[in-house]
Amino acid sequence: MTTNDGLSRRSLLRTAGLIGVGVGASSLVACTAESGGTPAAGAASGAVGAPDAADLDKAIKAAVKGKEIKVGFTPPVLSENFTQIENAAWRKMYEYEQRFGCSWVWERQAPVGDFNAVQGTLGIVQAWVSRKFDAIAVCTGANFATVQSLYKNAASKGVKIYQFNQPAELYPEDQLQTVTNVGYDNRWQSGYLAGKYIADKLGGQGNILQIWGPSGSDWTRGRRIGFDKALTEHPGIKVVGEADGGYVRDKGFTAAQDLLTKNNKVNAIYGENEEMALGASQAIDTAGLKHWDGKEGILTVGADGLVSGYKQIRAGKLSATVDIGGVDQGQNLIEAIFATAVLGQAVTQIINNPTQVVDKSNVDWHQAYTEWALAAPKKYGA
């Protein structure tokens, strides 16, 4: 019963999410069966694995009437991170297909170029609106106001827009034209966690380097707010250098190399995403410096939660990373689409998922969880 294994693990995480995120946890999440939500929401939340669920599945199947749901999924760029999210979504889609008899049409389009290729995203979304998709899931670096007016137009045509992995927390919630935002809070669930982890490991004293994403990125803005808060809480931690690593490994590598040359007493490097942190890790190797061994050496901390990053954590090349909950994001995105676009339920505007700092102590289950998602039983689209 592999499906059930997956389900129970997810329920476990969901509970962790409830505790960890508190208010941020959505009505969807709060509606897990035991808290007595509507049966449909209970089923949609995936917590139903008990033997008596057969009747419930049948009831929902009747309500779904074999509906075909057309979903468009557009990440800002194609990368390991978004592949993980997409596979996690496929897993949930397959599950619902089996249980509730719905069918999915999945189309994935990403603008070609870098994080700034935002015009491309707008065009992709517009095409799906014209083609009358049921649900469009967006993550983009495009300007807030611009995309909201596009979403508003989509909504007026009956097309539902969802955002995932989007730093929606930086904008007034009442201006969001989306059905919901499935993500996490970049400030307190990513930037702050990384800053706090570094400060704790260093005992509140030390010099750090920061390698950020491209200027103007919302993710960078959010994570910086959180990291800064951690810094004010630990005045002994000094930022001795920062650079733009453009979210890619070779720029992160070169930037870290230059900064390490300039500062010979560095205790930790924060890479705002994992690719840049891995680049920094290479710079440490190349410079003949020592990686953190639990007591001394240079600490490298990233953020994303990629399988490749987890492997580096095991190898001792990356000290830690913030798992931004990509698997849960993918699964909850589908759950939200199913609840709203199929069953017609309402959900909260912000659905934040559990995140966690991952280091050697807990890398095993994080990696296993992500690999479970990547082994989706069915690939959709293309």
Binding site: F82, A243, T254, A255, T261, N264, E275, L278, S308
Partner: protein
């Protein structure tokens, strides 16, 4: 040695556009060394040299194309695709020499196609190589489905990527750049092909009348550029230890900039290997100085743009000045 020839040598040195940019670099480096003591350390100099390798390979290839009066906008994405071939084949367990050979074949083959499109079908070089830019870039994206290629690194590849040193601060890519630079320089200066290449670039009609098979020379130039892009790709895949599909984007601009800073002309017929290396050094130094001096990283693009214009201006001013000081005999 006669006085006449030594004077000729001196005149040539004075008029050498590379001197202008070298003077500029020397002045800038001295100033920075005073402001930022870590700049002139052995460690930093090694970093700079290691970081300039990729652009150096590309710039040498670009210089050959520019000499022939062409332009190759596709080097970045051809480099990316070659890196993808090398990495993916290695990850599939194909032996390293074979994987590298395939990567080189892909790069050279795409260069050949560029050359054929331009000479045989008469597509303007700008357009042909722009189309190749989207083709090769798109091919890598489609092949990888946008997911970075991982898990191909091995002990020897760390050496090729320049992440491990052979002896002292020397790495394999440094040796390779020297070997390639010397070889290409010899070909350009001493071989018949080199003479024809400059002739084609200076005036293809003239070369045609002189019996040079212009098309062949041009095709060869693009093939060399493609080959160098593949070399750069093999090296870069080792340096970054991962190949994201966007790995080559923007490198064509750096390569053109490096070649032109080094004295190559977009009008053809001009350019040298040593110039390409100086150009690559200029670009790498600029980035290094920005990082070291703590200039806000958002200014990076502005500074690089200004350096580009200033460097070309310095080249031109230097040769104007030299001509003014000592009129060219004849």
């Amino acid at each position: 040695m006669s006085t006449a020839s030594s004077r000729g040598w001196r005149t040539r040195a004075l008029q050498d556009p590379a001197i202008g940019i070298l003077v500029l670099l020397a002045v800038a480096s001295t100033v920075i060394a005073f402001i930022e003591p870590t700049f002139a350390t052995r460690g930093n100099v090694t970093n700079i040299i290691n970081a300039m390798m990729t652009i150096s390979f590309l710039a040498v290839g670009m210089t050959v194309v520019l000499i022939a009066g062409g332009l190759d906008l596709s080097v970045g994405s051809v480099m990316g695709l070659s890196a993808g071939v090398a990495a993916n084949f290695l990850a599939d367990g194909i032996p390293m020499p074979l994987a590298f050979l395939c990567a080189l074949a892909v790069g050279t083959g795409l260069g050949l196609i560029n050359g054929l499109l331009i000479t045989k079908l008469g597509v303007p070089d700008f357009i042909a190589t722009l189309a190749m830019l989207s083709l090769a870039g798109g091919a890598l994206l489609y092949w990888t489905r946008g997911v970075p290629i991982l898990g191909y690194m091995s002990e020897p590849y760390y050496y090729i990527g320049g992440l491990r040193r052979v002896v002292g601060p020397i790495t394999i890519p440094m040796l390779l750049v020297v070997v390639i630079a010397v070889t290409v320089a010899i070909v350009l200066n001493l071989s018949k092909f080199g003479v024809k290449l400059y002739a084609v670039g200076s005036s293809s009609t003239g070369a045609l009348h002189a019996g040079v098979r212009v098309d062949r020379i041009k095709i060869a130039a693009y093939a060399i550029s493609g080959f160098m892009a593949a070399v750069a790709g093999i090296h870069l895949a080792g340096r970054t230890t991962t190949v994201p599909p966007s790995i080559g984007s923007g490198y064509e601009i750096s390569a053109i900039a490096a070649a032109v800073i080094g004295g190559a002309s977009l009008l053809g017929g001009k350019g040298r290997v040593v110039g390409a290396l100086i150009g690559a050094l200029t670009l790498t130094l600029t980035r290094n100085i920005i990082n070291l001096t703590g200039v806000e990283s958002s200014w990076q693009a502005v500074v690089i743009g200004l350096v580009l214009i200033l460097a070309v201006l310095a080249n031109q001013t230097w040769s104007d000045l030299a001509r003014f000081v000592r009129p060219r005999p004849g």
